[in-house]
Amino acid sequence: MSDAKNTTPSNGSPGDVDEIFVEHPFRQFVVMYMRNYAAVAGLFVFVLIVGAALFAPLILDLDPFEMVDAPLLRPGEGGHLLGTDNLGRDLFVAIIYGARVTMAVGGAAAGITLVIGLTIGAMAGYYRGWVDEVLMRITEFFQVLPPLLLAMVLVALFSPTLETVAIAIGVVSWTGVARLARAEFLRLREQEFVKAARSIGARDRRIIWLVIMPNALPPLIVNAALTVGIAILFEAALSFLGLSDPNVMSWGKLIGDNRDYLLDAPWTITFPGVAIFLTVLSMSLIGDGLTDAFNPKLRER
């Protein structure tokens, strides 16, 4: 078993657990995560971005759509840290406000992805047989559809609000989570502690959600971190194409609005692009750190 780990050299006498082993698994988890410096850096960047997204608008109280100066000012010109865009909007303010939307849509989309993927994967892996057969055919169907195109169609069909965008991204990207959850359930349902749970009288629902799920979650949480990154890229792509709420500032929208000035004012596109890059990179590094922290094999070293 993955957690198999003989911490105590068994000398046979009952009650030979030493108090030094009374350490909560969560602490071990934190220690392991902290050993991955790249992951710590990723977490730092992520916390910075989320912090800016949450608190800066409260402190600044500005309108990111307001024309504050001449258009296309260079970074630093006129007191604008990152310059202004084609409509004379302060890029720094726009990026800070855009972070909110990007994070919210990314997080919500990842949440939807996880809920759909987990439920479908858990049912398929737990019940197997025809349930598995049907659910996996559905999953394959969604998998072969081009995700960006499908998301565009969904947003175009319904109104281009943030909710629609988040749901569209969720609907096109749950298949990976479903497959992963199914594989974990297929593996775990054969473990003896699951059989034990059944024989002490646990019903299906308890076994699925309280016995198997907590043990299946680690790789899925890692996957969720990556999903947030992918969802952010999706959101950027949709807003770039103008398929998002035009009344809400986001990084993708900034890039889309300024794309005609790429050569004259490259910073208008570079800065939002760097913001997207850093966020996605930080999610990926966090995912990496979580893998290490969840993996008892590494913990052993």
Binding site: D3, T8, S10, G15, K195, I200, R203
Partner: protein, 338 residues
């Protein structure tokens, strides 16, 4: 032989568990693993029936079938007056409290995310054992009964040694106050020194609570120590069944005889016996086995008849049954006729 007998707690008749293998392609014939193929036995209340056999002989599958943890292909199973095969849903769930299982692997048998105390308490909550207010006390008592300290309830499974984890497994099994406890190789994953402790614990718990054991092992020494009666399994079938004394002193089936002579013995009389035989080769595949005696490929006495006809389990004398063509009706096995 399924006459109602008050003394019998578990009565299994003609149990079959076959696993359908996925077809290689749509034209291929679907093949089946005959993991358990027509197995019958009874366990009397308060006694221990041992099942011995090599790896892959179907011991675990038999245990899981009795526990209704794997689908039963055919046959009947009764726990007292309760028809185990017919039970479904909530009725099955309730009946599970009367039978519990102790698993082989002390690592994978405990949920790594649940504290030891909660592991033992869970069955009481699910099966409504005792008043909710009393359960904490019951858990503490069980911890003491299995040789753990009640303070250790707050620990997680990975903080215990293998032997201690097996004790937690025993406590969990006893938490529903079962009549039957199925022990599937409960000590084979443990160090030899700790094996004896767990076996002694199981024996003293049996005496204290009047438990009935279905005890599975591949270790003849362990079985000899624990069991009143023993069934020898080979490739999904019982080839010999007898009380402990008869089986160890007068093995009838060539397979049992080979197994016994393979046991390293401290007794020079046994060790130097001329009729010791070594078991060569591997058992054949349990996938779609051919008719005839399944031991024929490895049996030094095999004849044409052995491959043609499947030997059935015959009772040679009271309480001693064997499935071999060459054991005469008065109980002379082929190995004594050479």
């Amino acid at each position: 032989m399924s006459a109602p007998d008050n003394d019998v707690l578990l009565d299994v008749q003609h149990l079959k568990v076959h696993f359908q293998l996925p077809r290689k392609n749509i034209f291929a014939k679907a093949s089946k693993v005959h993991a358990v193929d027509d197995v019958s036995f009874q366990v009397r209340r308060g006694t221990t029936l041992g099942i011995v056999g090599e790896s892959g002989s179907g011991k675990t599958t038999t245990a899981l079938a009795v526990m209704r943890l794997t689908p039963v292909t055919d046959g009947s199973m009764h726990l007292g007056d309760t028809d185990l095969v017919a039970l479904e849903g909530e009725a099955l769930r309730k009946t599970r409290s009367r039978m519990q299982i102790i698993f082989q692997d002390p690592y994978s048998s405990l949920n790594p995310r649940v504290r030891a105390g909660a592991i033992v308490r869970e069955p009481m909550d699910l099966m409504n054992i005792g008043a909710p207010g009393d359960r904490e006390g019951l858990v503490g008592e069980l911890f003491k009964k299995v040789g753990l300290r009640p303070e250790q309830q707050a620990l997680f499974p990975h903080q215990f040694s293998g032997g201690q984890r097996q004790r937690i497994g025993v406590a969990r099994a006893l938490a529903t106050q079962p009549e039957l406890v199925v022990c599937d190789e409960p000590v084979s994953a443990l160090d030899v020194a700790i094996q004896a402790q767990i076996l002694n614990l199981l024996r003293s718990l049996q005496a204290e609570f009047g438990l009935t054991y279905l005890f599975i092992s591949h270790d003849l020494g362990v079985v000899q120590y624990m069991c009143d009666e023993i069934a020898v399994m080979y490739l999904g079938q019982i080839v010999e069944q007898a009380d402990r004394i008869s089986l160890f002193t007068e093995p009838l089936h060539p397979y049992t005889w080979a197994l016994l002579s393979a046991v390293p013995s401290a007794d020079p009389a046994v060790r130097d016996r001329a009729d010791r035989v070594r078991l060569v080769g591997d058992p054949p595949s349990p996938i779609d086995p051919p008719p005839g005696c399944r031991f024929a490929g490895r049996c030094p006495f095999a004849e044409a008849r052995c491959v043609a006809e499947t030997p059935s389990l015959r009772t040679i004398r009271s309480g001693h049954a064997v499935a071999c063509h060459l054991v005469s009706d008065d109980g002379v096995p082929p190995q004594r006729r050479r």
